[in-house]
Amino acid sequence: MGYSGFEEKVGFFDNIIYGFQVTFQPINFLFCGIGVLVGTLVGVLPGIGPAGAMALLLPATFKVSPTSTLILLAGIYYGVQYGGSTTSILVNIPGEASSVVTCIDGYQMARQGRAGPALGIAAIGSFIAGTIANVGLMFVAVPLARAALRFGPPEYFALMCMGLIIVTYLAQGSILKAIMMALVGIILGSIGLDVITGLPRFTFGINELTDGVGIIPLVMGLFGISEIFVNLEESLEREIFKTHIKNLWPSLKDWAQAKWAVVRGSIIGFLLGILPGGGAVIATFVAYAVEKKVAKEPQRFGKGAIEGVAGPESANNAAAGSSLIPLLSLGIPPNPIMAIFFSALIIHGIQPGPLLIKQHPDLFWGLVASLYLGNFLLLILNLPLISMWVKVLEIPYKLLFPLILLFCLIGAYSMNNVVFDLYVMIFFGVVGWIMKKFGYEGAPLILAYVLGPMLENSLRQSLLISGGSFLIFVSRPISAIALGIAFLLLLSNLFPYFKKQHEIYEEFKE
């Protein structure tokens, strides 16, 4: 039965039931469990990051279905959001960038002997936000995919341009440098065979480059190896705040203070996650700022306000769920993590795009149901296992760093079983380390690297259709709006007011 017939005969809830049938298949259930556990572990341990962990486990999924693969990757992604809060609250070191804000009030709560409620509200808020994001995903992705069927190359080109500009605009450092990195990403993405002529470009006679630079060694180098180098430069000792964790369940007073923070964080996270270029990190900053703004006693923030934990922790999980929307309905990855999802789908022979939901209902609805299951597993597994994750934190980094390095090497090699990928990873590890020192970010580069080939195809096809006229991009409403937004964002940097706002945002982040 084709999906159109399928869709006519079964309703919305039948789709969800169908999704749960897929998710509860033993292999998918197992992968969901492994994903959330690995994700939490990665979130707890600073150093490897979700992108690196996904890249590492990707080769292990070659023999299973694409549905199981996506379930595993999604589990890692939102597991990381859960796990990252543990280190922020207990050690004042964010396991992941999306947990940076949690340090501010979470650690203060721990110092006041309230580590339990802080961890509890982080986990419960994440569960609620994750569930809200799943519901939103179901309601938004399907109609958006239907609408996207009418999109042509100009619309895709404009949307990708907008995504790249937003990524650079929201960059943590200099916007100029972020745009430069996006351009370098586009150039890197063009290495290999040209899809239209079939001729090699920028391969410099190296046969291994004919297929382009692999995303796994690139991501592992830029995010994994470079992070290890940064850590190696410093003393590897870290201090863990010794506290007895009790009463994980927040009190009624805590609930009263945090309930609306969870709701606001979920909504903010969901909306920012959908935006191309958005994602969990930005969502947490915005959620914290909003909480401080609406608080009756803003002076409590920074001194252990539970809303300062509830808002950002809800926001990062909601963003993790909603960032799947552009990927699954438009085929456009909105952030570097989704770029790995995108690559995983391509490796499994599935073209992400508006037809994905129609052609692979098992994948879409299975993934949606797995998000519910994963969130539930995280809640029931993580709260009782908090003490275990604290023990994990006590493993000395000097023991972890060689293992993380070995995992990166195995992940890069096992993708294609070629040693050349190891050299690529080491090279980009050094590049990433130097980039960090010089204030350049890896995220715009990765996103542009993935979007580059699609951007090029859309541009060339659009110009072929229009007979060489760039007016095609402004004569169609969707592409005109997307390019208009991108243009305004670029222009906003020139105006003092917006520049000042961005500076305030930067100061806040620092």
Partner: protein, 151 residues
């Protein structure tokens, strides 16, 4: 950051010029029929302009906070050592095979941080090599090279 920005902008300028020239060689085509060098031509052109902007911006900027030197960390000497070990590992893995080369790699890496505890280094290296071999090669079917000795 002033010197860093000046140096890096000149590096990116060099990259952009190289890509620009290569794009022209590949052929940028026409607007009606863009060639395979069209996008990289445009991207490298913009990259070159932005590199120049960054260079001039950094040159005319008054540095308020003194930037830390490039090798600011106390233990930066570990990095070149780890780098050499990683390159040697990549070179030797196809020759020596996964088990031997990984054992040597892990010994070197653990030794960097725990020089006095030789027994710890030895046991950790053997354990990490064997466990990863079992998990990735035997369980997950990753194809590691056998090397000269056949294992």
């Amino acid at each position: 950051m002033k010197t860093f920005d000046q140096t890096s902008s000149l590096f990116w300028l060099l990259v952009s010029i190289s890509v620009f020239v290569e794009s022209l060689r590949l052929g940028i085509g026409t607007l009606k029929n863009p060639g395979m060098g069209f996008l990289t031509f445009s991207a490298s052109g913009i990259l070159g302009i932005l590199s120049l902007i960054l260079f001039f911006k950094a040159s005319f900027k008054k540095e308020e906070v003194k930037t830390a030197p490039f090798f600011a960390g106390m233990f930066w000497k570990r990095i070149p050592f780890v780098l050499i070990v990683l390159i040697l590992y990549s070179r030797m893995m196809p020759i020596l095979g996964y088990l031997i080369s990984t054992f040597l790699l892990m010994t070197a890496l653990f030794w960097i941080l725990e020089r006095k505890k030789i027994a710890f280094v030895f046991v950790s290296s053997i354990l990490s090599t064997l466990v990863t071999y079992l998990v990735f090669s035997k369980w997950l079917n990753c194809q590691f090279p056998d090397g000269l000795f056949g294992f």
